[in-house]
Amino acid sequence: MKRGVLFALGLAVLLQACGQTPTAFRPLPSALGDIRGVAMGFEGLLPLQEGEGIYAAWINLERGEIVGLGRFRVNENGRPIDENGDLIERFVADQNLFKSVSVLITIEPFGAVGGSPGSAVILQGPVIEGVAQLTVPSPQGVQGAQGSYRVFTPTDGPGTNEGSGVWAASVAGGPLLQLPALNNLYAYEHYMVIDGVTLTMGRFLSPNAADFINLYSGSEPAPAFPGEDFLVNAPAGVTFPANLAGARLIVTLEPILDDTSDPSQLVILEATLPGSVVGGETIALTNRVADFPSGTAVIF
């Protein structure tokens, strides 16, 4: 009897010391709720260029733990691919994902993925019955954002180069943009794309206050609203005072932290300036929130 018990105890130690959940999909773990895989698909999620970082996927578990699923790129079909361009059909976690709460997609701007997600969240969604519909965690009411810019150049005095600047300020000195209050993830930033060169006009937190930089404006006082004159410090490929005819004006949501210098793909408002700009025009913006990326993740 004693020998039998000792043998059984030894067997127990051996049995518990080895064994693990396979990384490949198997019916037995799946049937018992030991689920380690996630499949994902996206719509409108743009491939990131060199220097823009890399996507990373995360799962938030019931106890608050965050499980990294790995980094990825997307192909033209909105499917995740690895760095060799091979399709990632199933992300594999090293923990059971049965009690997942939400899925998070971030842009890790420096290409290195740490143990926790960065601040540049691009998509997220709650897991309901094993499926997560992923959307941009944008500020509430962003679908109703609207407004316009007025073409004029206040920072080099009146009556000079009037077609080389845009400001979200009315003639009467009021705001021209109607944007919702921001959440703790994003800031607004506006850009002008002149002859294919993207120039930032600065970040701002409210349409009723000036943005944080005026890189290309003159020395005269600027309105207390977001805007820019393109008069000085011209980057390569652009001539100042700029001719804004045909230029593209965009307002985007940018991550507060871990942002890159390029515009994000979260374009809220957009307009193309007319072929002839002399100053005094009002440029109405079109809401592009419907083009925000989205996605689906399924745990299996």
Binding site: M1, G4, V5, F7, A8, L11, A12, L15, Q16, C18, G19, Q20, T21, P22, A24, F25, R26, P27, L28, P29, S30, A31, L32, G33, D34, I35, A39, M40, G41, R79, E89, R90, N96, F98, K99, I128, E129, G130, V131, T296, V298, I299, F300
Partner: protein, 229 residues
């Protein structure tokens, strides 16, 4: 007079026999009526009037589990990932004068959140035969086979279909080795409640480098009702 006294004595005795406690406590009249009775008779009457003493209740005699067959039905949980319900039945046969050694086969069905598992298992059982209490501990080890079938939730399957992903295979059969133990608690000489825990390693058919990479661990905790035939 003697006859009359004897008749009263007989009546008092009858009353005491029919309701000894009540007669003694509620009505002293019979004793008054037999005040002239002889001492041996009074002693006899008083002895008769005492309520009969109950023997203190003794625990049922403890017996060794007999050799022979034992049938059990069970319900429990499989802990592997999440908790899954398991139900089944087991049939054992024990050998020896004290039934120290036995063999048990069991069949179970497990309903998990993502499918179901049918399982058959055989176990060698070593148990404490010399029972000094109602508890009979035991250890068991053996092997078996299971068949698992995936049944993904509808929402999951729909999304996988939209992504063009078809998880394969959807069912698998695999052998397992298992170890465990438990305890039987006899509530009747032949009827016992039983708690049983098992640890198993399922040997999956994987293209894995090492044998241990093919093992999938399972744990089970079950409650059973057993009947010794």
């Amino acid at each position: 007079m003697v006859n009359g006294r004897g008749a009263m004595t007989a009546a008092a005795l009858a009353a005491l026999l029919l309701a000894p406690g009540a007669a003694a406590e509620a009505s002293p009249v019979p004793y008054g009526m037999i005040a002239g009775a002889t001492a041996p008779l009074i002693a006899q009457l008083q002895a008769s009037a005492q309520p009969q003493q109950q023997e203190p209740e003794r625990p049922p005699p403890v017996v060794d589990p007999a050799d022979g067959p034992v049938f059990s039905i069970m319900g429990g949980s499989v802990f592997s990932g999440s908790s899954s319900f398991q139900a089944g039945a087991a049939f054992a046969y024990f050998f020896g004068a004290k039934a120290n050694f036995g063999f048990e086969v069991e069949g179970t069905a497990t309903l998990g959140p993502g499918g179901r598992v049918a399982q058959g298992m055989g176990s060698f059982v070593l148990q404490a035969g010399a029972r000094t209490s109602k508890f009979v501990p035991y250890v068991a080890f053996g092997g078996g086979y299971l068949q698992a079938k995936t049944n993904l939730p509808k929402a999951t399957q729909e999304v996988l279909d939209s992504l063009g992903i078809q998880p394969e295979p959807i069912s698998e059969t695999a052998p397992l080795i298992q170890f465990g133990g438990g305890v039987r608690f006899y509530v009747r000489p032949k009827l016992a409640f039983r708690a049983d825990v098992r640890f198993a390693q399922v040997i999956l058919d994987l293209d894995a480098e090492g044998f241990s990479d093919r093992l999938f661990p399972m744990r089970r905790l079950a409650g059973m009702i057993s009947w010794d035939f």
